[in-house]
Symmetry: C2
Subunit: 186 residues, 2 copies
Amino acid sequence: MARPGNPKEKIMATAGRLFYEQGYNATGINQVLEEAGVAKASLYTHFGSKEELGLAYLKEARMQWFAAITAVVEQKTDPEDRLLATFEFLEKQLPLQHFKGCRFINMLAEIGDAQPEMQQQVLEHKRKLRRYLHQLLIAIPGQAAAGTADTIYLLFEGAIVESKIYKEIWPVKTAKKTVKRLISMD
Amino acid sequence: MARPGNPKEKIMATAGRLFYEQGYNATGINQVLEEAGVAKASLYTHFGSKEELGLAYLKEARMQWFAAITAVVEQKTDPEDRLLATFEFLEKQLPLQHFKGCRFINMLAEIGDAQPEMQQQVLEHKRKLRRYLHQLLIAIPGQAAAGTADTIYLLFEGAIVESKIYKEIWPVKTAKKTVKRLISMD
DNA sequence: ATAATAATAGACAAATTTGTCTATTATTAT
DNA sequence: ATAATAATAGACAAATTTGTCTATTATTAT
């Protein structure tokens, strides 16, 4: 079961996969260790506890998620195409991940007020996404934004969550269609 | 810790509260028993396992949730008011529940493909909600529906999820405003 | 009143979970 | 080459988890 990379990276990769596939609480540290092919002490020297591993997971996921979505958006030059590319990102990504939904929303459902740092990571991730969509919208000439940016944000988030529930892509397509309609209204 | 009702009802009430507040996996059977003031054997005669209790919880929650939302909708007679009343239901309900979000989406984040019956309950709950919103929309004269009903559904769901993340009510207000705008377009 | 049923307290088991610690081996830097 | 550092295997502990079982008590129906 040896995997490429140093023990810390192996733990991060395996935990990232298992937390997403099975959930944070349903994944034991022993399974992570076993599938990563790494000694238990390595986990506790690099991360102090399971909770810190969970926090590291969220931080890593934030970075990777934004890297992935911006990479797709930056392939486009037209402002409208750039906004719509965020939904095309979902259309490609969600089926590839077997409609497991959003890592952050999933984690938030599992943790409580006893883990404020994790809650904070989720909140900051979503704030950043909200700002990002807002920026993409106001880059389109003649878009006053106002409530429209938040509507787009709600549709984006709704699309992720519902495609998880139905394990179908129509929520993303519907959201994208509505966004097109909204930005052609003003 | 004696609570009103027979043991089965006490377990349902306590599990319903704890699963929602703490999450399903984070809530042990012993805590449910202790807070319900009920013997362990009572749980295992009425429900065969924790998983069956989880399933009963979802079924009960489905019933109660629809009873609550339809009660609010049925106070209105004007079709447009009836559709908007669903968002007013959220505006009232979510803060009262301290923005814990949707019981079904929360549960879905915790369970995997090993619990298909629970997944099915979530799916059927959401299908029913989707149909319900569709019906409320097409009752408004001059509404062709088409994709609009699903857009409203996505905004409704997005509003629940995001108000949980931000612990603020603006997502519901934004969603409601957009729905008003959408139905006055055609 | 009495018999049948339901519920209780709580011991117990088996498995699992997070986390620590030790002795040994491998890797890296000088 | 050698010393310092990193990683390993795995025993061990303490707590927790789900679930079973027993002997006793309370409730309900006749």
